[in-house]
Amino acid sequence: MMGLLTNLKDSISRVTDRLFATEEPKRIGIYGPPNAGKTTLANRIARDWTGDAIGPESHVPHETRRARRKEDVEIERNGKSVSIDIVDTPGVTTKVDYKEFLDHDMEKDDAIRRSREATEGVAEAMHWLREDVDGVIYVLDSSTDPFTQVNTMLIGIIESRELPVLIFANKTDLEDSDVQRVADAFPEHETVPLSALEGNNMDEVYDKIAEYFG
């Protein structure tokens, strides 16, 4: 009888351990317009904490045409460990014209296939944003104008879902980079400058990720 009770107690505590002790990692979506450096950032974070990358980086827009995930990325900060799932999403836009890919040395068939995949990817990214992410890292190329309709709409969508969001002013290694312009565009949110490519200011990046999504 006692043995049975002990067994029962053990199995109950195992279940409660699973329910309460190990918190599910937060799913953090990396969003932004095409060519902001989302995959470069996702790869930088994944390489720094897990050793492997998430996906290929490229100067051609819409290189990422499927949301790609890296699960259980453990980020250690001030003796504490934060676990997140990273979702690298395709760049969001309201238009895709296959002819633009023809400028990147692509055959027409390839360009059409790529544009079809790109549109599917954007639709998928929007779906993830409405249903499946717990927080957002919004990545912008700080050398370009942040006052675009896509940025305004996406930040509005993120705010309406009350998701925690960090604005990353990426590409600070570029001469035209203007972090203040990004900060001015989204005054209600915290802006973190970085160069994901060069690995500049990554300490602050990880501090903020732990602070916002831990």
């Binding site: 309201t94 238009k95 296959y98 544009s115 006052f147 309709q149 709409m153």
Partner: protein
């Protein structure tokens, strides 16, 4: 929308009032906008869309893009400055202050020349 004979040289502009949109479901609004835009019209919404509707508009637009036929939309609205200053009561009651003039057109026919918090300037061309 009532059928009219269209001058093939012109560009049709549909100005849709807030009260017309109020009576519609989200998908009906999106259909109304995209059907107009795919016909080559410029659609102007007096009161714009909610963030959720904007996200669905992007998603549905993406599923309808096809080579040499429809390359997507250009959309412009004034920045939603009110959300930050929205009162706690408004948020509690789910009253979203999203009323903002919004211009939507075919990506290959409308080009935004200038945009700031008070002015949107766009160039519209025939197909």
């Amino acid at each position: 929308m009532p059928e009219t004979t269209r001058d093939s040289d012109g560009v049709q502009i549909d100005l849709i009032s807030g009260s017309r949109m109020d009576g519609l479901r989200s998908m009906e609004k999106i259909r109304l906008i995209l059907d107009g835009v795919r016909d080559g019209n410029i659609v102007i919404l007096e009161e714009g869309l909610s963030p959720d509707e904007e996200s669905k508009l992007i998603e549905v637009t993406m599923t309808e893009i096809s080579p040499d036929d429809f390359s997507g939309i250009e959309i412009e609205s004034y920045p939603r400055a009110e959300t930050a200053n929205q009162s706690f009561l408004d948020k509690l009651m789910g009253r979203e202050s999203t009323k903002k003039l919004t211009v939507i057109g075919p990506a290959n026919q409308i080009e935004t020349l200038h945009k700031d918090e008070q002015l949107i300037s766009a160039l519209v061309s025939r197909k």
